[in-house]
Symmetry: D2
Subunit: 328 residues, 4 copies
């Protein structure tokens, strides 16, 4: 049994608390949130007691923390948890500033506690099957990777302003997947982007439509495409092409029902957004983390993975800003 304190009782926090509650090997002991009523509601639904950071981390029986609070609190909480000797599961990103990330990772490494970054998509059953297929040689040598990732609708402008920008906030997931599927590090990043969805996003200094090209040392190529708005729902597809064939993971639909009528043959549109699309992934990533804590092995995606994805996002931003490809 792994005893948890969870930081953050917002939307993503609710998912993690529900999964901790349902996991027979986890116990949700504390919930901490700056907005206490939110923390209270979570404990009522999923157990545990409302607490504060100091009290929670001082509990010698506490084994691990889930950090699902706002991005600007991640690094501090990680460092405090690390110093208290707790295993850390932290939502992406570690921080929006690379120097802060590196300092934080050093503190965690010095403390010797396990650290896992919540790149949930690696745990999606479709993408896991894709990875298994690549490992089994079904595409041979990977040559081209295409990642499509489009949100149903943009977040509020207030969120956009503190998000770190599309590359660090949204595409970072795809950049992590790219590293995972390519199996080697990109050495060049080129980004092209526009503000096409909502001019207010442009006014806030960000873009809402972006494509990125990655190239690895051995010449593998990757194309990523993002949009902040897809009227048909959350569009999450991956295509891997290689010397022996192609593997594709398509969108998931709520049902298999298809209607044939005078206007065509119509099936469901994809699930609306991440809560509906990735429930198993959220469940499995925590399960993997608990597994690692219990067995004393290093979880994946690691802090180094979190850093590497941010480095790619930074490079994409820099490429967009400069209009040139960036070498890594």
């Amino acid at each position: 049994m792994v005893n948890f304190c969870q930081f953050g009782a917002g939307r993503i926090g609710q998912i993690h608390a529900a999964n901790l509650n349902a996991n027979a090997r986890a116990s949700l002991r504390y919930v901490v949130d700056v907005h206490e009523p939110a923390a209270k509601q979570l404990t009522e639904q999923f157990g545990g007691t409302v607490s504060d950071t100091g009290t929670a981390l001082a509990d010698p029986e506490l084994d691990a923390v889930v950090i699902a609070s706002s991005t600007d609190t991640h690094a501090d909480l990680m460092e405090r948890a690390a110093k208290a000797g707790k295993a850390i599961f932290c939502e992406k990103p570690i921080d929006l500033d690379m120097k802060r990330v590196e300092a934080c990772l050093k503190t965690v490494a010095d403390a010797g506690v396990p650290l896992m970054i919540g790149f949930n998509r690696r745990f999606d059953p479709n993408f896991l099957a894709l990875k298994a297929g690549v490992r089994a040689g079904r595409v041979g040598t990977v040559e081209l990777l295409n990642i499509t990732s489009r949100d149903p609708a943009p977040p509020p402008i207030e969120y956009i302003k503190v998000s770190g920008g599309l590359f660090r906030d949204m595409m970072i997931h795809d950049l992590d997947l790219a590293r995972w599927f390519l199996g080697e590090e990109p050495v060049e990043v080129f980004a092209s982007a526009s503000c096409l969805v909502d001019p207010k996003i442009g006014d806030a200094g960000d873009i809402d439509t972006a494509v990125v090209t990655l190239k690895t040392g051995s010449g593998k190529l990757c194309q990523i495409g993002n949009s902040r708005r897809a009227v048909y729902g959350y569009d999450q597809r991956i295509e891997i092409f290689g010397s022996a064939g192609m593997l594709q993971a398509g969108n998931r639909m709520p049902t298999t029902v298809v209607h044939s009528g005078p206007d065509g043959v119509t099936g469901d549109k994809p699930y609306h957004f991440f809560l509906e699309r990735y429930p198993e992934a959220y469940r499995s990533e925590l399960d993997h983390f608990i597994d690692c804590v219990e067995k004393g092995v290093a979880p994946e995606p690691s802090g180094a993975d979190g850093r590497a994805a941010l480095a790619l996002a930074d490079a994409a931003q820099q490429s967009f800003d400069s209009g040139r490809p960036v070498s890594l």
Copy 2:
């Protein structure tokens, strides 16, 4: 909160116990099984205490029972539960003998307790969406209904011998769905069947491959096809055709991953069997039952639905035996 006693700790019992355990409005108070170690294991996993029928039903705080024991115990347990004033959720079939069914339903009706029969497929998200589509007029007037239902592999011959035969054991699910989707009662049943999968099934007096044609009073037609063995997994599809179009619910696959290679484009085969194919249905049917018990409304599928499906299965058997269509 609805307090439950569950009868039966076998394969289907495990599903129900897990769903009771996970349901915030249910409490699994007792588990009864002739094989006590199985009951014990269930209580260890999902709560409650091992008990016997008399003790459990005597508990005034017990609200409801789930009957998931062997078929030959269903009617007796239903009657005892009814007399004890408990709400009843019973796996299909009520009994293999129509007279026994009718006597049992009378006892339940006299006791005035809620009764629901576990035709789980009505709660499958795909079939629910199909039904919603029919209700919304997406096919207009229903004219033709096609139900395909094939198991991955036949059950043991020992099970076949006490199963009541393919029509009562396997096709009864499809017959229930046919009534549900047709929206009116069949008035004629014709069955044609063969033993093609395993001659031992024929030796046991049963068939393993069967097709049935139903006709309703207004002339709607339904075709059902069953096989005890499909090498590609559990094949569960429904097609509804009418004046305004067609709705189809296809099989569900574990992932959306598709491979393109020299030998073609290959996706997942369907889920292996009912445990993998219908988890939401098992969860939802119990949830509906709990809802009805809490609100004091009559659950569906009702005892009358259980009786009607058995009547169709009996008619199919009689048609097959006589070689002629049977009028109802």
Copy 3:
């Protein structure tokens, strides 16, 4: 080079004339039609001269005839062509009366000329691939066959009245395919049918919605479903299930274009009707016939196939009329 006379310049006649014109091994020498302007138009488009039956058949350089005139003229023309020593390609059916069919086939057999019946669907690339798959053992032993065949809209009532009824006019194609795919003869036919599409069809003594069950000597089962009206177009699907798997041939769509929008994911509906759905089949069947004439081998589907399909249609009609299965 095979010299042809074509009887009939209607809709189906236009297809055959166009295919004869485009076939490098065929020459369309004569066109005969009771309505001379139609014949004239055909010759202007596709070559040949307008003629009459006697003159055309008296030409010693004429090798073959295509009979695409109205059904009631088929048998007479076949007999005259046979006596004149011409190879015969005749649209289905040979005749609506079994005795007339048998007499006609005897005359043709006595004359020793090649005879092919235009069951075009056997030449559809999808169904050919299906047949090749069955032959290659991809389904193992065939156990269940499902044939769906629905027209976009009913023909005029005047046509219905002389059509011989749905079983002989429409389902006869599916009955021929059933024999072809089952690979053995049905020994029992059961039909159930209704008039659901248009009451005028019922007033004309026919039905518009029908299902048939066939059983072969070895116990293979076949389900056929017909409707005279599908609002989404021509619905032509075949599914073959056996000990080693399943093969399905789905509908063909004009394009692969798919739209994703707020209301779902929508692709093309199937081709509208037989002219759009089966162009290759019409082309290939004539090509096969020309091949056989040139090589002196017997074409397929043969006159015996035409007779056997009619026998099944007759049995289906008799089953529907009597309400009982009919043994063959």
Copy 4:
């Protein structure tokens, strides 16, 4: 009736000659090829007489030419045909050298003859339906365009050496489609590419795997991906995403047949290569050209389209060579 001289009797020449022969409004009067036996064979199959350039162009009854000879002859033949006042259908590319292209187009413009470039893919029924969908507003404002184009296997190294490189030889088709679908001109091109399929291609100074990013003046983004080898056949897909939804044109398969077995659900792989994939496109483009010649209107894709696609291919090559995006 439009009288044609065709230059080139190779693989692509055979397609055009067959289509001219089958087109009721075209007459193939001459065939010219440096390899006379090839020309002879074509005339035997599809009509016309073997001739030489001077004789053919001197015929006052000759209306038009089809230039399907090797790339290095295109510009000369276009100029000679233009000066002789003949309408010109020329296979892509006009020439591999932009200056030569511009000079040639000036000569053609001065002569005032119609000129059409054979970007056949614009006439594929799927892509035409895609374009019609975009025009009808089904995607709203186009924001992201994805073009996948992969050949089944690389051409011979000898061909690679004179091809002008992947961008000018292969991707030029996709660049033309990009302009057509984007509806506005790219202002920036970035290319990344590798030699992953065959090191001999690298030795010949070319690449075999390439991705390109285009950006238009209004900020629309386009991603193109090419490979010289796809083991599952010719991969030709387009996806258009915009403010109101997404349209996708998938690959075309020979049949709709699908097999379900223990290893999954398997359908056909795509058609092998361009001859099988684009027969209607080759037919339709010539039909459009004949239409334009008869009606005296300007055909599309025009010489300017040919020039613009080459300019993009040149920019892609330059981007790859320099490692930087190229502005247009």
